[in-house]
Symmetry: C2
Subunit: 359 residues, 2 copies
């Protein structure tokens, strides 16, 4: 039975990548070592890391005046690292609040400065994103932070905010690499690896060079972007095996045509699923149409008493990890880059069958 | 050709563990998923994590009033987390200085409080460890920090310092799991995974419960031991695949008889190598006999002009990553748990041959 894994993260990885990791596990390219066993300062691993960075830069079109950092600690660490590095003498920053991850970023930023919430969608249970005309930007903010895709709520923002000379910061954990973006519009982009990049334990930070170098007092050395930038992410031992696997994912993306091609496939998958949700009142999507995420699709059954039966029947067909986040309930189908169209079709087919037998 | 990898870290892993990782890569125990693809909150991964913790507790004899945390960020992050969590209103802490890693820990601690260096071996190029009668302990120190094994200098302390009611903190990155220790003598033990535990990207912290809960102002949430203790290391997504691999290493250690058995093998390996160094003046060890590390063996050739030839000849025989740390030069053979006795014998044999042809 083919398994289709709809986990929100850690999430499905491309099967071809896993097969390559498996084939190279004991003896990488005749080195006699597993990548796990390589000194991070040896020529083999330095080559792996350099190639991963070059491929990521190519895929995302990262301009030369941006550093790409391969760190640890997840987006949760960035919630502190961003204010610690970007306040740069200012008293506070602007934050958009579109859901659970925005709230966590806001809560942590308040430890280091004043937070001006430019707009919030809490009034409608975070089911949409306020358009920019609703944002109350502070022209003196150190930066503007937002979450282009809320993994739990399934709310995605497809336009790029205009913030003038104030640096724009984005938590792209669950949208990075799903479609092309213009990196030059951002001051900092960060993302945990465990959705579209690779194994958990790796965090990618893309930061404009002029924003590096000034931290608030008491910032741990490991939370200083400058330390990692100056040492090419080798100040201490990085998550070497996760970075290697991420590098293979980057090559997989390049071979499939890059991010424009991924966007096409991702839109095809998302349309299949949202069309199925809209075609009946047996299922429904809580998210405003203009903000429906390409990556995370929460949905509910008309009768929540059927949830368990739905999940059980899905699992019997190999459609797994569909249970919604504990904070919102219902279902959630995460359909990251590595989820094939066939997986979404199998889910949509099952949804139709389930409605027939339980509707 | 059999490769023997003497890297100081990331380092050689048990071949049986790598083979199991390889075998389970695509489909872990019939789940249809790679461990990399599992939600960290799903029952499969929760089971993997719980088993890893139970096995580590059994191997090290961790008392019930200690928490075991699986974190990210390496020992370099602990250099800040230790003072941030353990100062608890005190003005400073005691540090022993026995080499490069001690110095890094001291430098970072100074950002958060006063550091009293209780003793230093800098006078003799960090080639020994001051005995406790030479330590000038401050009875009002928040804690006493030391580095039982200096990975670069190859200096190991085999006795456990007596610090009375002042908590003892140890960076055990390159000695953990190499021999039994009495955890109850310590307040905090921490270690990066990439030597004796598993892949880089995982950090283990063992902390006595009464030391958890008070941090200095400005401590990032991710640097608070309490957050991780209260959430059983699942506050955010942990380095799941590294933790899984570490769990397999713990089972490998248990199957080989645990840490007492490992100590026997490690002493056998170290003795082979130190005896070879002492048997001739062609080679020499810079470290005082009572502090010669069981894990990291730096040595020099009488004529440094022969270094390149030595390394080249070694590599031709599959003896790799023997070059000394750039800060000290010469050679370094790291002989962690996963290095078989045969690997050390092969090195000793080669050293004899090389001396015959170049002596």
């Amino acid at each position: 039975m083919t398994i289709y894994n709809f986990s929100a993260g850690p999430a499905v990885l491309p099967r071809d990548v896993l097969l390559q990791v498996q084939a190279e596990m004991i003896n990488w390219h005749g080195s006699g070592m597993s990548v796990m066993e390589m000194s991070h300062r040896g020529k083999e691993f330095m080559g792996i890391a350099a190639e991963a960075e070059a491929d990521l830069r190519e895929l995302m079109g990262v301009p030369v005046h941006y550093k790409v950092l391969f760190l640890q600690g997840g987006a949760s660490s960035q919630f502190a690292m961003v204010p610690m590095n970007l306040l740069r003498g200012k008293t506070g920053a602007d934050y958009l609040n579109t859901g659970e991850w925005s709230k966590k970023a806001i809560k942590e930023a308040k430890r280091y400065g004043a937070v001006n919430v430019v707009a919030t969608s809490e009034d409608k249970h975070f089911s949409y994103a306020p358009t920019q005309d609703q944002w109350k930007l502070d022209p003196d903010a150190a930066y503007v932070h937002y979450t282009p895709n809320e993994t739990i709520g399934g709310v995605e923002i497809f336009w790029t905010p205009e913030t003038g000379s104030v640096p724009l910061v984005a938590d792209m954990s669950s949208t990075i690499l799903s479609r092309p973006i213009d990196v030059s519009k951002f001051g900092v982009i960060y993302a945990g690896a465990q959705k579209n990049i690779g194994p958990a334990g790796l965090t990618i930070v893309i930061v404009r060079e002029d924003l590096i170098g000034q931290t608030v007092p008491g910032t741990p050395t490991m939370f200083d972007y400058k330390i990692h930038a100056d040492n090419e992410s080798m100040y201490n031992t990085p998550a070497t095996f996760s970075l290697y696997t991420a590098g293979l994912v980057f090559k997989w993306l390049k071979a499939r045509g890059g991010l424009a091609a991924m966007e096409n496939t991702n839109r095809e998958k998302a349309n299949l699923l949202y069309d199925a949700l809209d075609a009946t009142d047996f299922y429904s999507s809580p998210v405003a149409k203009e903000n429906r995420s390409l990556m995370n699709v929460p949905f509910t059954l008309k009768d929540a008493a059927l949830d368990e039966a739905f999940l059980k029947g899905a699992k019997e067909l190999g459609l797994i990890q569909l249970k919604g986040h504990r904070s919102v309930g219902g279902m959630r189908a995460s359909i990251y880059n590595a989820m094939p169209v066939e997986g979404v079709r199998a889910l949509v087919d099952y949804m139709g069958e389930f409605e027939k037998s339980h509707g």
